[in-house]
Symmetry: C2
Subunit: 163 residues, 2 copies
């Protein structure tokens, strides 16, 4: 099992956007520079976030990305689904219905026990991620953050943000 690397980038991008002054926008190039990642590739994941309605995009000069709603209304599950594609990790090909001694269709009204177990585990996984809001991560970060760094971040945002 392996999750796309862009999930980490997208999550940190949203975390950075949550520190933005209200009504301001931040270009994808600035976000990429802040995290030192390939700008074009991060832009691709930003598009995914925009398609999912997590961030809104403004084109043209003084454009950029901003959060579509309050950080309290954004959780890690939404970000992971948007970037990585929300399809289930475990793929059941109904192997029990194949082969010489297979179970017939009329006996498969209930899902296979193996698939049910995996999907139940995934359900719990997703519920846990859904419970972690972006605001929680941000508040926990600022709590243990040096005040000097906080000022440095704020200055950097003021210098690169538009509007």
């Amino acid at each position: 099992m392996r999750m796309g690397e862009g999930v980490e980038w997208a999550a940190h991008a949203c975390l950075l956007l949550s520190a933005l002054p209200d009504g301001a926008g931040l270009p994808a190039a600035a976000i990429a520079a802040f995290h030192d990642v390939p700008p074009a590739y991060l832009a691709k994941h930003m598009q995914a976030l925009a398609r999912a309605g997590i961030v809104t995009s403004a084109r043209g000069a003084s454009g950029g990305y901003r959060l579509a709603r309050a950080p309290e209304e954004i959780n890690l599950l939404q970000i992971a689904d948007a970037v990585d594609g929300g399809e289930p990790a475990f793929r059941c090909t109904e192997i029990r219905q194949r082969g010489p001694c297979a179970a017939k269709a009329e006996e498969c009204m209930k899902a296979c026990g193996i698939a049910a177990a995996f999907w139940a585990a995934e359900r719990i996984y997703r519920q846990h991620l859904e419970g972690v809001r972006l605001a929680d991560i941000r508040s926990a970060l600022v709590r243990k953050q040096d005040s000097a760094n906080m000022e440095r971040l704020k200055a950097w945002l003021e210098a690169h943000a538009n509007n």
Copy 2:
């Protein structure tokens, strides 16, 4: 996020082996024929199970695979880790330590909040899978299984098992 397709095959293979008479072995070709999957590919995953110590292999005529221990001592987490590789799905590249306004190493004694949340979710996921034993799946299956099919399965196993 996407799990290897072979996990389903390996799980069902173990489930089939758990129905085997005690001390008998089943060749990989027979398991593949039973599930109607490419024999050579299933053999690859069987090797992974053998390397992980979940099944034991016997070469030569009348050889084959058998469970290494009782079905009560085998759970889905062991199978998934053996086939899919137990590495964490979420990959943290310590993005916070990079870029112009990065957090320095001395401030990163604790794991990043985002990575911590994802890894905690994975931990719960794995715990759930660890709680599902192969014996549980088998008992739940035989409970709702037709007795005629049970006999058919037993006859098939007798016909293809060695020793």
